[in-house]
Each structure stands twice: as structure tokens, then as C-alpha cells.
């Protein structure tokens, strides 16, 4: 612990604020951003059955994910105060036909789980 204090003082004195942000010669940069883990389950409102193949998109980025056979989805994304999310049925009638839903998710910490119910037309 004492050594870390000394290191921090030396860092300040050497006027090299970037000394903790480094990358190996042949490596990638470091990731210094905070992120958010969003996961959930999409079900049919009428039956409660999970729906596969629903496209879950963050509408303010180009990120998307499709629900699996259990209706589950999950992804990491930039940390933000709110997430506009669009649920769309893009596979035609393959897993039933459902209406799209737009929603805004406001998470309370850096990991969130929620369920979405979709209606048939």
C-alpha cells in the first residue's frame, strides 16, 4: 500500500498523467470506459411462452441482439442513464408474428434484467 502511494506521488511529480494508460507494443489500447450489462427475456403476452428470433436493438447505437430459443438476450453496452430499446419481429412468421415495442430502460446499477411481453397483431 505504501509503495502505491509513493508510485502515485512519483507519477504526479514526473508530470506524466498518462503513465497508467499504456498499451503493449503490439497490443490493443486499454479499455477505460464503464459499461452496462443488459439481459432479459421476451415472451408472448397471451401464452407466456418465450419467443425466439426477436431483434432487440439499442436505437441510439447500431447494437442489436436476437433472442435465443429460450427467449433470452444479453449484451454489454456503454454506460448511460437510459437506453431506448426496440423489440422487433424480423423473421416473418417463423416464430409467430408479434408487434414491435419501443421502450426506454432506466437502470439503477450497472447490470439489469427485465422481461418484455409482446402482443400478437
Amino acid at each position: 500500500m505504501k509503495s502505491k502511494w509513493i508510485r502515485n506521488i512519483l507519477r504526479g511529480l514526473s508530470v506524466t498523467s498518462m503513465v497508467f494508460i499504456f498499451q503493449a507494443c503490439y497490443g490493443s489500447p486499454q479499455d477505460m470506459k464503464y459499461d452496462m450489462f443488459i439481459e432479459g427475456l421476451v415472451k408472448a403476452s397471451a401464452t407466456g411462452e418465450p419467443i425466439q428470433g426477436i431483434k432487440v436493438s439499442l436505437t441510439d447505437t447500431d447494437q442489436y441482439e436476437f433472442t435465443d430459443e429460450m427467449g433470452k438476450f444479453s449484451f454489454y453496452t456503454d454506460l448511460s442513464g437510459s437506453y431506448p430499446i426496440l423489440f422487433e419481429d424480423t423473421d416473418g412468421g417463423q416464430n409467430g408474428v408479434f408487434m414491435a415495442v419501443d421502450t426506454v430502460l432506466i437502470p439503477e446499477n450497472n447490470s439489469v434484467y427485465f422481461e418484455m411481453l409482446l402482443d400478437r397483431p
Binding site: 508510485r7 506524466t16 503513465v19 499504456f22 507494443c25 486499454q30 470506459k33 447505437t61 453496452t77
Partner: protein
């Protein structure tokens, strides 16, 4: 006077860092397979590598020995070409779940929209794409006529991401040195924010291509170009940490030279070997995850990386800049420890 003071403090800082040796950056050589056959490859990998990819579960066991993990512990997937692994998204996702951040170095050939999306979803936070020239030279060096077009698409995807800390690296060599300004213009036109340049070190397959090594004059030209371009503030351009560059130290990088191999940087190599950067001579391996506890090895071995006095030999023995350089980058040493392979400072000032 101030510069001298700063240098002394920085030396002391490096010594303290070596003493603390906090692991912040861990390479995982997850495959040695590659879809290209680059002339300058430092790892000498191949399309049909006989070595199997390391199972994800084996790496995770090693990762889990690191306790406590530093807040920003970064796992960097490297190879070979990491995108050759079919389970690359799963690898990243599990690494993130196990408490580390992760990034990747890629040639970009297999990096398309779907892959980009899947990797971001899996928590990828940093990406480096290699670009070694404009179309003709890049394709020549990469031994593939479609390589530039693929890399160009990959760069367009990566630079558009708000999530990624993204940069382009260019391996500068005798073939592409004259088009460095053109590459710069290309990167500006692509809105790339960060560009890192390094030179060919005669290791791996590159050892068979001495004609690609920069002359002293070309090397100085490169450093002058970086120094000049940094002043323009149009792109975050820097010389990599591959070596100590004497009078250019404060001009071509954000910080002074500090080879952090084995001090903050470790690696798990394809066969389970525990080392520092993957391009360091394999005789410096410190253990193996299949027989040793990774973090115990990190904490109790690696002396050869943390106390570099042994490098004061050969042409380093009487160098008046040894205190700042300390034997150059560790990848410039073979296991016999007889002499440094490349002295960057000597290239700048041959008589010095």
C-alpha cells in the same frame, strides 16, 4: 534542469512500478492459426497451424487465480488471428464475466458488421486493427489481394463505435516508409482518431526479410514525421513502446520509454506458457498454467523482467543512456542475454 528532474523522477517511478508489479494487461495467445501469411509476422504463425487453440475453460482457470484483480485488468486476445476462433464472442463474454475487460488485435479480414456487433455485445472495449500501407503495399505485405479492402471495411466499422477504444497500428518498413504521409491522409479521411507506428524487429518470420528493416535515415524520418504530426493534433499519433529513442523520447510518445513487460504485462501463450509480451523470446517463459498457479508465478517469478541489470552487457554495457533505456524493449533480447538485438537510439545517432 526541469527535464533532468523529470527524468530522475520517472526512473524512480519505473523502479517503484517494478516493485509493485501490478498486473494490468494480460495477453492471451488464444490461437496460432491465421488467415493471412504476412511477410513481417513476428509470431510466425500459419493458416494450418498444427497447434490446437487453447480451450477457453483452461484460460479462465488461469484468469481466476488473479485475485484481487486490478480495476482495469485488460485481457488482450492475440494470435495468430483471434477471429479464426469460432467461439471468440463467447471467450470475450466469459472474460468480462470473470472480472476483466478485454480487447483484441486483428488484421480485420474477418471483421464484418455481424462480427462487430457480436463482439461489442460480448463486452469488447478496445480494438486494434493492423494497416501496413495503402492498397498495393498492404496487400503485398499481407500476401493477399483482398486484405486492404477488408481492413478498410473493418476500420469503418470500428471508428463508428462509441464503445471502442480503437486505434490503427502500422508496421513501418522499407517498403511503406515513403507512403507514411499518404497513410496519414487516408486515416484522416476515415476519421480515425489514434494511430500507432512501430518498426520491424527481426524476429519470427520477419527475421527472413532483412530488406524490410528501416535504414537509420528512414528511421529518423519516421520519428520526425511522428514528432511533426503530433504538433498538428489532427490524430493521436505515437511511436510504439518498442524501444528507447533518446532525443525523441518526449516528442513521439505521451510518456517516456518504459518496457512494462513482466512488470504490468503478462501473457498466457498457446501452450499454456506464462510469460510477458508474446513476442518475447520463449526462453524467458516463467511457468505454465497447466502445471503452475498463474498468479503465484506472476507474484514470485519474473525477476528477469523486473530487475534489468543483467541487460547492461554487450553494446549496452557502456551506454551513457542506460539509466533511461535499461536494455531497450524485452523483445529485443534472446535467451542467451548476450547482446541487445536492436538499439533504436543507435539508429538515431550511430556515433553516439
Amino acid at each position: 534542469m526541469f527535464g533532468l528532474f523529470k527524468n530522475r523522477i520517472f526512473r524512480r517511478f519505473k523502479k517503484t512500478e517494478a516493485s509493485i508489479h501490478e498486473l494490468n494487461y494480460l495477453f492471451w495467445e488464444c490461437t496460432t492459426r491465421c488467415n493471412l501469411n504476412c511477410l513481417h509476422c513476428g509470431s510466425d504463425c500459419s493458416k494450418d497451424s498444427s497447434t490446437q487453440d487453447m480451450p477457453l475453460s483452461d484460460f479462465l482457470l488461469a484468469l481466476d487465480t488473479i485475485e484481487p484483480k486490478s480495476e482495469n485488468l485488460m485481457v488482450v486476445l492475440t494470435g495468430g488471428e483471434p477471429l479464426m476462433r469460432k467461439d471468440i464472442e463467447q471467450c470475450g463474454r466469459e472474460i468480462r464475466k470473470h472480472g476483466a475487460r478485454w480487447g483484441m488485435v486483428t488484421n480485420g479480414y474477418l471483421y464484418n458488421q455481424d462480427k462487430h456487433n457480436a463482439l461489442i455485445n460480448a463486452g469488447m472495449g478496445a480494438l486494434t486493427i493492423s494497416l501496413d500501407g495503402l492498397e498495393i503495399n498492404h496487400n503485398w505485405l499481407r500476401n493477399n489481394n483482398n486484405s486492404f479492402a477488408r481492413t478498410d471495411s473493418a476500420i469503418a466499422l470500428a471508428r463508428g463505435s462509441t464503445r471502442l477504444n480503437f486505434d490503427v497500428v502500422t508496421c513501418v518498413n522499407a517498403r511503406n516508409i515513403d507512403e507514411i504521409p499518404l497513410i496519414y491522409n487516408y486515416l484522416l479521411s476515415q476519421s480515425v482518431k489514434a494511430w500507432r507506428l512501430f518498426t520491424i524487429v527481426p524476429i519470427g518470420r520477419a527475421a527472413n526479410s532483412p530488406d524490410l528493416v528501416l535504414t537509420n535515415q528512414q528511421f529518423k524520418y519516421l520519428l520526425d514525421f511522428i514528432s511533426h504530426t503530433r504538433k498538428l493534433k489532427t490524430i493521436d499519433i505515437k511511436f510504439s513502446c518498442e524501444g528507447y529513442v533518446g532525443p525523441y523520447e518526449s516528442k513521439v510518445r505521451d510518456t517516456g520509454f518504459f518496457c512494462r513487460a513482466g512488470i504490468n504485462i503478462g501473457s498466457v501463450l498457446i501452450d499454456g506458457s506464462i510469460s510477458a509480451c508474446p513476442n518475447i523470446d520463449r526462453s524467458f517463459v516463467q511457468g505454465n498454467i497447466y502445471t503452475d498457479n498463474f498468479f503465484e508465478v506472476w507474484n514470485t517469478k519474473f525477476q528477469v523482467f523486473r530487475d534489468r541489470k543483467w541487460t547492461k552487457t554487450g553494446r549496452c554495457a557502456n551506454c551513457n543512456q542506460y539509466a533511461d533505456c535499461q536494455g531497450n524493449g524485452m523483445h529485443n533480447w534472446y535467451g542467451d542475454k548476450a547482446n541487445v538485438l536492436v538499439c533504436h537510439n543507435e539508429k538515431i545517432n550511430p556515433a553516439g
